[in-house]
């Protein structure tokens, strides 16, 4: 594709390595429930900003890596990530121009969809978990979204 895309690869890769580190970092149990889904946030951000370079395929690979590192059913997170990336890429032109508050309000239902897909697959597989474990990441991710997006935008502009 375009030559200027190659400049974007490094920050994207870096952000995902940091995201993965934050995802598998051990945390105390109380905070654990509220661990933000870092990788979902990153998939949403990059799919919104660089949909040509970063869309369903890349999101799917991130999902598979997440499945392996979390020990969940292979394809569970991949499916959820893929759906999130599809929604974002499909509407990226609309979403991208939103002011930050409206953007946060848009990200919330997308995270809910993501968690619902995980919940759904867990249900089919026969894994039961209290509902708080699904809402925790949604709440924390939405709360952190404005901060993360400002940091990531800086990273993106430097690239």
């Amino acid at each position: 594709m375009n030559s200027h895309y190659t400049f974007h690869r490094l920050p994207i890769l870096l952000s995902f390595i940091i995201g993965l580190m934050l995802t598998i970092m051990p945390l105390p149990e109380v905070i654990e429930v509220f661990r933000p889904s870092w990788l979902t946030i990153l998939v949403i951000f990059w799919a919104m900003q660089l949909p040509q370079l970063w869309n369903v395929g890349s999101a799917w690979i991130i999902g598979i890596i997440l499945d392996v590192s979390q020990g969940t059913l292979l394809g569970q997170h991949a499916l959820a990530m893929c759906c999130v990336a599809f929604i974002i890429v499909r509407f990226h032109l609309i979403i991208r121009v939103f002011p930050i508050l409206q953007l946060t309000a848009t990200v919330f239902p997308i995270l809910v969809i993501y968690q619902f897909l995980l919940f759904w697959v867990n249900g089919v597989e026969g894994v039961n978990a209290p509902l708080i474990t699904y809402w925790g990441p949604v709440i924390s991710s939405t709360a952190l979204w404005p901060v993360i997006i400002i940091l990531l935008s800086k990273l993106r502009n430097k690239a």
Partner: protein, 289 residues
């Protein structure tokens, strides 16, 4: 802005997005189906796991550095104090050990009399915990040993004070293990006081286990120590698992509500022992007689 340039290039449309999306969804569902049905995808999982390994090492590095710093900065007086403490402990342990040897000999003699096989001590290997997952629907940990060290699926993991869990996926260099507090984990145990056999099930809470199959009139009390019974074959017999910390007898229900606290501190352990059990099934039948 860069964003507007991109739009001009492609008018914001990604070629065959919907098609690719549907394809990937299909692949995901297929993967999940095969992963759930049987373990054909183990090799795929292991190779991706190997790719994630460096990230785990990086995540683990600050913690390693911290423990290393702690070790190197400990003061002399602390070390001396620790040394004397260890010396006393050693003396006490040796004292107990002498008794143990006598008991072992006696046990062997009695077993020979009963025509049972003598119990071989289990071989162990120390390994380190690299990371812990403790979201309520998945209590697992990653250990720093894999198939290259002889780790196998279903292997028992024991901490200093008791059973921690079992290996569910042996990778090449690291392995995934399930904690006994995982909701999907069940473990055959017996009460050491009276030999009452039952099953301990994880609750999804790291400091609590459940005994769902205790009938109301069963002889179980708060403070009872539960040890592995060796049934089911995965765990060798005699390792402490948990202490009963609440017994609620409900007259209207067939089973009492019994919870127990894990003997091992599942949250705090850094090193665990892998058990290479040498016990075979004959012994269980011998014990039944």
């Amino acid at each position: 802005m860069v964003a507007s340039n991109e739009n001009n290039n492609s008018s914001g449309r990604i070629p065959a997005l919907g098609f690719r999306f549907l394809g990937l969804i299909f692949v995901s569902i297929l993967l999940m189906y095969f992963d759930n049905r049987d373990g054909h995808l183990e090799t795929v999982r292991k190779s991706i796991g190997a790719a994630v390994h460096p990230v785990r090492v990086i995540v683990d590095a600050p913690i390693q550095l911290w423990t290393w710093l702690g070790k190197s900065i400990t003061s002399r007086s602390n070390l001396e104090q620790e040394l004397t403490q260890h010396k006393t402990e050693k003396l006490i342990t040796y004292g107990r050990l002498q008794k143990l040897e006598a008991l072992e000999a006696e046990n062997k003699r009695l077993r020979e009399m009963l025509n049972a096989r003598s119990k071989v001590p289990d071989k162990t290997r120390v390994t380190e915990i690299m990371s812990i997952n403790a979201n309520p629907y998945n209590h697992s940990l990653i250990i720093d040993a894999g198939t290259q060290d002889g780790v196998f699926d279903g292997q028992a993991l024991v901490g200093a004070n008791g059973v921690i869990g079992q290996v569910i996926e042996a990778g090449f260099m690291t392995s995934l293990a399930m904690l006994i507090s995982d909701m999907d984990h069940a473990l055959p145990v017996e009460v050491i006081r009276n030999g009452l056999r039952t099953i301990v099930v994880g609750t999804g809470k790291i400091d609590s286990l459940e005994l769902p199959f205790i009938v109301n009139n069963a002889d179980i009390r708060i403070g009872d120590l539960l040890v592995t019974s060796g049934f089911g074959g995965a765990f060798p017999a005699g390792y402490p698992v948990a202490t009963v910390n609440s017994v609620k007898r409900l007259p209207q229900e067939p089973y009492a509500k019994v919870t127990a606290k894990p003997a091992a501190s599942l949250e705090q352990a850094r090193e665990v022992l892998l058990i290479f059990s040498l016990i075979d099934q004959d012994e269980e039948t011998a014990e039944d007689e």
